[in-house]
Symmetry: C2
Subunit: 374 residues, 2 copies
Amino acid sequence: MNAWRYECEICGHHEEIDTRLWCCPVDGGAFTLSGPNTLAPEHIDLEEPTLWRYASLLPVQRPDHYSLGEGLTPLVPGTLAGRNVWLKNDAALPTGSFKDRGAAILVAHLASLGLDRLIVDSSGNAAAAMAGFCAAAGIGCTVYAPANASPGKLVQARAYGATVIPVEGNRDAVASAAQDAVDNDPSSFYASHNWHAVFVEGVKTWAYEVWEQLGGRLPATAFIPAGGGSAFVGGRRGFDAVPGKLPALIAAQPAACAPISLAYESDARDIAAVTPGDTMAEGTKIGAPSRGRQILSALRDSGGWAVAVTEDDIAAALRELWSQGLYVEPTAALGAAAFVVAIRDGRPIPEGDTVVLLTGNGLKATETIGELLG
Amino acid sequence: MNAWRYECEICGHHEEIDTRLWCCPVDGGAFTLSGPNTLAPEHIDLEEPTLWRYASLLPVQRPDHYSLGEGLTPLVPGTLAGRNVWLKNDAALPTGSFKDRGAAILVAHLASLGLDRLIVDSSGNAAAAMAGFCAAAGIGCTVYAPANASPGKLVQARAYGATVIPVEGNRDAVASAAQDAVDNDPSSFYASHNWHAVFVEGVKTWAYEVWEQLGGRLPATAFIPAGGGSAFVGGRRGFDAVPGKLPALIAAQPAACAPISLAYESDARDIAAVTPGDTMAEGTKIGAPSRGRQILSALRDSGGWAVAVTEDDIAAALRELWSQGLYVEPTAALGAAAFVVAIRDGRPIPEGDTVVLLTGNGLKATETIGELLG
């Protein structure tokens, strides 16, 4: 018996966990997943040093023939703006970003459905994560990427054996090309990290780990980089698994692409699409996040906020992290920048532990970082 | 009372652990360290998820004000040349290479002696590792690097706040410049990963971890990339801590720079210096390893061997690792290449577990990897 079920975030339509639909067939809304989500020591395999220690709370079982050692990243003490914070360093994951959490679970799930070729659209960390776990699982991966994506960003996916197909046009054109490819090849599957609800079930484990690493205590506040929003809604889903007050969740975006922040400021019911401007936080250049309702309800329910930070704020936060030995890429500094901005603006921070999620490795952005250093 | 003491690998001269000498004052030989080295569950802090779980077997205590979450990297199942092996993935360490193990311990040790500026010589992973842990510890770091080192390789060290000083000439000229700088500034210290014995005490933890991760069992064989030899002699020191047969230790070098392999083949008592040729395994371009006697005795005592592999062997091993989701840099594939060569040559591999050490992250070598992929 499988207790897992998809539910449309807009109309509430249900689908079973073994469906091949990746969004609601009624209105195209993003799915959420309902299933067991109660975090307690008896649900954790304490001997297992990866995110599969939470297998009883995941929609798929641990693959028996491979592992990349995914999960259980360091939670280390640090300081930002003179305050003590906890830094959750997901740069330490196997392919170098938090997306490994979602990719590990999504690839295992789709492989268990018998799929052997996944089609994804991404120009960066998600491409690497999906390609890496497809390689480990022994299934094929095709990446549709913007023609103007930095070739360096795609080297990693190609090394894992993925086929990379460049697409002219904007991010929507890339997604359309990927979906068209799937329509033309029924043996393949559109495994979108931005759409698939199973991806979020993997990402939620960062919050599970934080709870464990704090000795079974919820933090009071979590600052989270937000583009498509999977780290953000994953955090909400993870912290929801513990009885007690949901931490205030702060969605940090670059000012050049801040649709979540704009919707939050105007108290909108949905997130309106924007045209992304130029930002060094390239992982968050997503003008139309697909999980809008989930993001806005997490903001509302947690008493958190969304904030747009400037390029200068990001650069300053990067330097503060690097100077503590934490080498992260620009996108990964958004949460830290949002914390510093909050302190500077005199915004009240809830008492208790503050966690800042670091999403990706600085080694992914050598060129940009070299330019910043001059 | 401190049970740790330095001993010259050539003449046996002793120094206390708090000395500022980094090599033997009698004959310039490399030091080894003697101290507690018996690995058993009661000597491990099982609650500590970093290499500091072995603090009772290290010459320095865990720093109380910082951590980068160093150690406990994945040991994952893989295949090479159709055989099952264990892949120990030190690419997952905080700065992206096994050198973090040595840097974590050496920086903590030198900080405990009151030093607040370290001078190192390196063009790559050691520079990043030392700079990263100096940043975490809050002490200064100056890196002397070859003027022709790839600027990309040094971006990471600079981001951590290290001062990078380019030096014209070969690797010896760089080391001399670093040592001269120390002579001119008595408040600084030459913290050489190639010379300092405390560095090896950190590196040995990879072998401790392998023993734990195999369920308290020694592997039969370990394939190890070897340049300066710290991963190799660290492996010997780590496996020595367990009663039982020392695993056969295989030192893998690129044919373009293989002084260890040459000395092994000719049954020499010391390693003769060579002029490094061109190789993509740039982390092992060390013509005159400083720990020659320790390396040769580890080869002899373990029943292992040293081998020089070609650039084609390295490229093939890289592809085999990448295709399993393990994104490593060329230097890190040397051990895997040596294993494949041994199988191809029909060399008998001892029965039991085979471990292959992966030393560094592929994200450090995007340019080289892009060229390999074409």
